[in-house]
Subunit: 205 residues, 3 copies
């Protein structure tokens, strides 16, 4: 199944991105595993907790924990290599973003919720992993300043919502993933981002 393959590629890419972040902060192997886990599986977990959708993915299918563990250990071995292959890595990451977001929207819609919540569900699933990664590394989440990351997540949710009554679940999923992926790659290529809100003031409160 194509979607399952893409989903696993996404998990692996997110785990490795977590491992590299942990390495940048000089963590031990536990830290590496923990950050990878939070990056790869945290977004879906927070979505499931907020929407009361139990059991969580990795509780139901613990083999995902092993995938994260192995991916993160491999990442510590081939870190410099990954860094050189940055374009490939960003491609995997974009696949992960599109797949996670679309699946997130699908789950929320499957629980009977509406467009607004489908987009929020997609956004949480697609972007909270990266937020947790940066939070646990004690950095300002990159995503709050990054090229259309969360926007792409919400876009996937909206596309899925509008297309599945016409195209059916299968095709709508692939369609949302495909468009999300392309938009993300274009945003990276041309450094497109949302306008920034800068508010300078003498810190008072």
């Amino acid at each position: 199944m194509l979607i399952a393959v893409l989903f696993h590629m996404g998990i692996i890419a997110e785990s490795m991105s977590g491992a590299l972040a942990a390495g940048r902060h000089k963590m031990d192997l536990f830290g590496v595993f923990f950050i990878s886990f939070a990056t790869a599986l945290g977004g879906g977990s927070i979505r499931d907790v907020l929407f009361n959708h139990y059991p969580l993915l990795w509780v139901q299918s613990p083999h995902y924990i092993l995938i994260v563990l192995v991916s993160s250990l491999i990442a510590t071995r081939i870190a410099y290599f990954i860094n050189r292959l940055e374009r490939l890595f960003l491609t995997f990451d974009a696949i992960g973003l599109a797949v996670f977001s679309t699946i997130g929207a699908k789950i929320v819609i499957g629980m009977g919720y509406d467009l607004t919540l489908a987009m929020i569900g997609a956004m949480i699933t697609g972007s909270f992993g990266g937020i947790l990664r940066d939070l646990f590394c004690n950095s300002m989440p990159l995503i709050f300043r990054k090229e259309l990351y969360a926007f792409v997540a919400m876009l996937c949710g909206a596309i899925y919502w509008f297309s599945y009554p016409f195209l059916g679940e299968e095709l709508a999923t692939l369609c949302a993933i495909g468009i999300g992926f392309i938009v993300r790659m274009i945003a990276i290529r041309y450094k497109i981002s949302l306008p920034t809100f800068i508010f300078e003031t003498k810190e008072k409160s």
Copy 2:
């Protein structure tokens, strides 16, 4: 209904406070929305997750998401204006604190729990939004050093708990909100705060 009006004023004030914090950290529009969302709706969400009280408010009534979105966008337009109207803004914020905390206590009591948990529920509802805001902005939560913020939240919970058997739900709610609001305004006006615990040591652990 007075309480509903006050509640919406609180949501709007908290959203705007989130948006300003995001602007101070130079975030993009997604970051602005995300921080506003966490500030305005995060406290209630964490209470509901901890007390297993589903569905969450914004899942049940997604129009709150739109209120947050609109408020945060408006805040980016009128930021300097808000900053000049600081007193008005703090008043709204104090209303939000008192309303959120009292409603938090009410929900926890409605689930059959006791005074201690009513106070904890009020505290989580009233103060966790601000904690999340500061956490996602990668700052030390202000609330841990601020004028009686969480104390007011717990006070609202306690007042509601003691008064609703005598005054009825309606009146007890207004009473808790009113007293909480006044105490908070006095604390701001006279810069009253809890004693601080300062523990200096050569960092070892």
Copy 3:
């Protein structure tokens, strides 16, 4: 009951460790209480939220909240004293780690889950309190660099898992606690830690 006594010693030690961390960051009394609460009861709460195991311990038995409150207030009085008794304090902390982790594994196994999840449950219970403490104090979590902390938690989970079919719940619990405690004390004594993954690069992403 020995296990209950050890569990309370753990709660007290974790509360005090939270209070000291709050004091190092010059927080007010609310901050002290909040950080103590998160340190002592946060790990178990997050485990229960992730595994859908409600009600949370402190919701069911609010007297734990009072224990945390009292311990944290006492800690602010005797901070320098605790600091001088560092070895005693680390011993209590190691007891807490071993007891929390083992109980975490027990709960997860009791819900019908397998070895992998028992270890993850033990790890979350034993180590997330410290992670939250550092997060709310806006520091990089110490645990990601510390002597075998989370490793000991997972070890307790694994020992319990392997031994309870043979030894029975009671004895397996004590056995896991005992070995975990000893390994932790040895790791502190000889400064044993996991290998660290250091990945230096010119910050790009």
